[in-house]
């Protein structure tokens, strides 16, 4: 068992190529980084820089072409259910209520899968509690189309968390939301990370979002994605939205901006 603060995910000289032969496109190149247990990292960069490819690598959905990738010291060879994912589109199933959407991973991941029929009520209660913890207490039995965009995204994040994954992966999860809802969800995500001590990886192109939420921000270059800057964010936690208006915060954002689109 990896203790908080110890390395959980390690990438060493990892590259990944899509396609073969003349059509091969290198998505990420020579990535080396370590994600510590409980750490919140953010990956920022221009669009098409391989941020999402990096997520697919770590979740085991795509194999590495070169280099080594380990989680808890074990090489990643295929999908590992230690990961929970949420994307820009909430991708909730419209024929299920919020609570049933959150339960979906438990119907797939072992050992929950075989316990599902016996302990349905307990699991349901757990899903309800999780939704309540992100402020959706009164909406557990609503269908996705009865929820606002922000609520749908909260539900989607709950779905990513229900099986208690080691790593929470967020691929531009707030990209489609309006500015105020987005800030609300930053705080919700901050609280989830704080309370559950989950390791989180956020892919975004919003630098303020990255600095507000993350302990470490990685800036990636244009394709093929390389890490061009590693920025530690030392702002004290818990962070309040007010911090985004302070000088140190803005200096950090400014500093990161200067590394984007430059090689």
């Amino acid at each position: 068992m990896v203790q908080p603060g110890e390395p959980l995910v390690e990438l060493k000289n990892v590259s990944m190529t899509y396609g073969q032969g003349a059509n091969a496109v290198k998505a990420v190149d020579n990535l080396t980084l370590t994600i510590k247990k409980g750490e919140f990292i953010a990956v920022v960069g221009p669009s098409g820089c391989g941020k999402s490819s990096m997520m697919k690598l770590i979740s085991g959905l795509k194999p590495t072409s070169e280099g080594t990738l380990t989680i808890e010291g074990q090489p990643v060879k295929g999908p590992i259910n230690k990961v929970g994912m949420a994307f820009q589109a909430s991708n909730l199933l419209p024929w299920r209520t919020a609570v049933d959407n959150v339960l979906l991973p438990l119907e797939i991941v072992q050992p929950h899968r075989s316990r599902m029929s016996k302990e349905k009520a307990a699991y349901r209660e757990k899903a309800r509690a999780l939704l309540e913890s992100v402020g959706l207490g009164g909406f557990t039995d609503k269908f996705p189309w009865q929820l606002s965009g922000g609520m749908q995204q909260r539900t989607s994040i709950c779905r990513a968390l229900i099986h208690e994954p080691e790593i929470l992966m967020l691929d531009e999860p707030f990209g489609a939301l309006d500015a105020f809802t987005r800030e609300e969800l930053w705080c919700a995500t901050r609280d989830i990370h704080q309370k559950r001590g989950v390791t989180a990886m956020l892919v975004t192109h919003d630098l303020r979002e990255a600095v507000f939420l993350a302990d470490t921000v990685y800036v990636m270059s244009d394709r093929p994605g390389k890490i061009v800057k590693v920025q530690h964010v030392d702002l004290p936690r818990p962070r309040d939205l007010e911090v985004t208006y302070t000088k140190p915060f803005q200096d950090l954002v400014h500093e990161l901006r200067s590394h984007i689109g430059k090689h």
Partner: protein, 255 residues
């Protein structure tokens, strides 16, 4: 009932206006009853020949529903197969398109050679003509499952079967029920076409016999019966669709 003006009054009014215009046109131009009988004459014929219309109508309804039932079973199975695997898709799709391009009228004589004049060719024609839209729609529903959602599930270790069962099939249900509305009317057309070519009973056969005897009123009474039966079948299918995939007909959300 909500919206009864749009849903009941408007179509009823339009139909009545249409019939009245028809009646007036027939009388105004004094069209002979052998060319176009008036609606009142057709109504009279419907009352007069009611036992025959009722019996043959039941026969047509039976062959239509049996053919439709077969189409649902095979259509669902093939649709899931084609949506599931690119290989099955590649193997079956061209053949199915070729088969669908054949006018089913051309198949009826073959069916009659194999099964004799009667009920079976009508059932099979109804089946053959109506299963294609079901296959295409179910396959489309399956094949368009969002890649991100598949990633979410695959990252959890979900198998292809899991994804199809939990997401693909429920997701394709609105497509499936939508296609049923098309399929039921097609099945009906198939039955009647087959009955018109070779059968001992059914509305198609009844109309053919009436035509041979210059009983034009009965031919039109048959047309009316077909139209009414067609609407009824469509309405029932549409109701089933709403009952089972209500989530796809979303009401206004709270935001």
């Amino acid at each position: 009932m909500k919206n009864w003006k749009e849903n009941i009054l408007a179509p009823l009014l339009f139909t009545i206006v249409l019939l009245v215009l028809w009646e007036i046109a027939c009388r105004l131009f004094s069209l002979p009853a052998t060319v176009l009988p008036t609606p009142t004459a057709i109504a009279k014929a419907m009352v007069q020949y009611w036992p025959a219309i009722w019996q043959n109508g039941l026969q047509t309804l039976m062959t239509t529903l049996l053919g439709f039932g077969l189409a649902i079973v095979f259509g669902l199975a093939l649709g899931i197969g084609i949506g599931w695997s690119k290989f099955i898709y590649g193997a079956l799709y061209p053949v199915m398109i070729a088969f669908n391009a054949i006018p089913k009228v051309a198949v009826v004589p073959i069916l009659i050679i194999w099964f004799g004049i009667g009920t079976i060719p009508a059932i099979l024609t109804a089946f053959l003509i109506s299963f294609f839209p079901i296959v295409v729609n179910v396959a489309t529903g399956l094949a368009t499952t969002e890649p991100e959602l598949q990633d979410v599930l695959r990252a959890l270790g979900a198998s292809k079967l899991d994804i199809v069962r939990k997401v693909g099939i429920p997701r394709s249900m609105p497509y499936f029920f939508g296609s049923l509305k098309v399929a039921i009317t097609l099945a009906f057309v198939g039955s009647v076409v087959s009955e018109t070519i070779g059968a001992n009973s059914g509305l198609g056969q009844m109309m053919l016999a009436a035509q041979a005897g210059f009983n034009v009123e009965l031919v039109f009474a048959g047309v009316m019966a077909l139209a009414i039966l067609g609407i009824a079948l469509y309405a029932i299918t549409a109701m089933i669709e709403r009952r089972f995939t209500g989530w796809a007909f979303r009401a206004d959300g709270i935001s």
